[in-house]
């Protein structure tokens, strides 16, 4: 019964977002442009070899399409939630019988779904035209979908957790910036972690950020059921840890909220 509320929040958010369809389109087209640049870059890298760290060029580009689509689709959650907490606009959400963070989760997942499809579509078209298709077994569609949903959930949970610190810091933009760069590098959005020196790769693989981009995208370009099961177990594990942190931090910090305007 309780969860139906959040489904409806997601639905109305989906509808509301349609007003931003041009923004979404432009954003996704921009990612497609980045994919185009990356294709050119990697083509020079692959000029004298067929495989780099187990990735063929086809795998590499499809890997990047996947990481870009996952990481960019929720948008600026930290800025939005952080500003709402800091400015006191949160007041209008706290007086309703729902959980504040879950409200934003529903909202964010609706947005992510819309943007993920667009970005993956545009990035995919560019890749398909310039590089060619990925060998993908349609039986793996639902497992990959599940992995992507869990990746977006983990992504959101981390951002929701970071947002609370807007109460202490003056600016949530900088937090968004730092988090984004960490995911870019240690999450494996820019490069598969295998390309890094061993010590850095193993740091990246043991941190939660790689379960947002690196592992899901690697599974997408080279599926195997064993890896899939290990991945979702670890993703769920990380999500549970950060959900617990978020609950604790929000409980403590809500007492500190000062709402502006009188």
């Amino acid at each position: 019964m309780g969860l139906i509320k959040y489904l409806h929040i997601g639905r109305i958010s989906f509808k509301n977002n349609l007003a931003y369809k041009t923004d979404f389109l432009v954003g996704s087209l921009f990612i497609a442009l980045i994919i185009f640049i990356l294709i050119n870059l990697w083509q020079t890298m692959y000029a004298d070899r067929a495989v780099i760290e187990g990735f063929t060029i086809t795998m590499m580009i499809w890997y990047l399409v996947m990481t870009e689509s996952i990481v960019t689709s929720p948008g600026r959650v930290i800025e939005q939630m952080g500003d709402e907490i800091r400015s006191g606009d949160i007041a209008q959400k706290l007086n309703k019988p729902y959980n504040y963070v879950l409200f934003h989760y529903a909202e964010s997942m609706a947005k992510s779904a819309q943007r993920f499809v667009l970005t993956f579509l545009f990035g995919g078209i560019v890749t398909l035209l310039l590089i060619g298709p990925l060998t993908f077994n349609l039986n793996h569609f639902f497992p990959i979908l599940l992995v992507v949903i869990l990746a977006l959930t983990l992504h959101f949970t981390l951002m929701a957790l970071i947002s609370v610190f807007a109460l202490w810091l003056e600016d949530s933009k900088s937090m968004h910036f730092i988090y984004q760069k960490v995911v870019f590098v240690l999450g494996g959005m820019l490069l598969p972690l295998d390309i890094f020196p061993d010590w850095l790769a193993s740091i990246g693989k043991s941190l939660p950020f790689s379960f947002i981009a690196y592992f899901p995208a690697k599974l997408f370009v080279g599926f195997n059921w064993n890896d899939f099961l290990i991945l979702i177990a670890k993703q769920i594990g990380w999500i549970l840890i950060f959900v617990a942190c978020t609950i604790i931090v929000y409980r403590i910090s809500f007492k500190r909220i000062s709402i502006n305007g009188g």
Binding site: I12, A19, A91, N95, K96, P97, I259, G261
Partner: protein
Amino acid sequence: MVISIKNLTKTFKIKHKKEGLKASFFSLFKSHYKQLHAVNNISFNIKKGEIVGFIGPNGAGKSTTIKMMAGILFPTSGKISILNHNPQKERKKLSYKIGTVFGQKPQLWYHLPAIDTYNLFRRIFEIPEKEFKERLNRYIKLFEVEEIVHQPVRKLSLGQRMRCEMIASLLHNPQVLFLDEPTIGMDIIVKKKIRELIRKLNKEEKITIVLTSHDMEDVEQICKRLIIISKGKIVHDGSMKDIREKYLSKKRIVVILQDKVKEISLPGAELMYRGTYKHALEINTKETSLKESVKSIVSKYNVEDISVLDPPIEEIIEEIYQR
């Protein structure tokens, strides 16, 4: 007792920056905090069906009090009981029984028609469909928003949007309604309409209403009871009639004349402002009759426009302090 507040205090810590480069540099390592008593040891009770106005200048602590009553802010000390709930501990439970409208913080989805938000609230507040439809239709008629609720909220005027906001807060049949600055930024005609609706809600639906405003007229026209709050303290708690007799005996008469007059003179009146065409006088209605004064001005001078105003709330508070 629907609302019971006892020794409520809220202190904010505010970062205090000293002037100068040197001080700015040191503030990087150690911040100085100033204590601000937004609400300072206030107590009051509100009975079922009452309609109470909180009034005070900006920053007096009225919104802070309302937000603590709604469970959104945590008090530094003191006790709050709303419908026998502790709003901080039972915020979710309480949210089914109270409604809140914040004039400056919209709850309707901006790009969608209000009706979409209402349908969402039906799910969020778990309102049975039949009851929901009945209530929605009644409010749509009462607030005269038949067509408006089907238009995207962003296209509505301020007054139309406020009416839609109020419906959103009423759908789950709250027993208490908190209105924080419901008329802020509206013109006189729209204000009048909103005030009328608030009065109707209290009278016909028997909803206990607490509202804040910095507009004396709001409270004068809507509320039977008035709590004046200034610098976090209650400076007066009593019936509207009381206040009017005690403090609103002074009236301002502002006249715009058609001819240049050096000085407008009227027995028993104090001259407040002297311009070329515009003049302002203040009278005490206990000593001088307002009717007679207006009559005498109109007969003596060539009047283009005349209006009678209450002194601003700040002056009333000052007067209360002086007594």
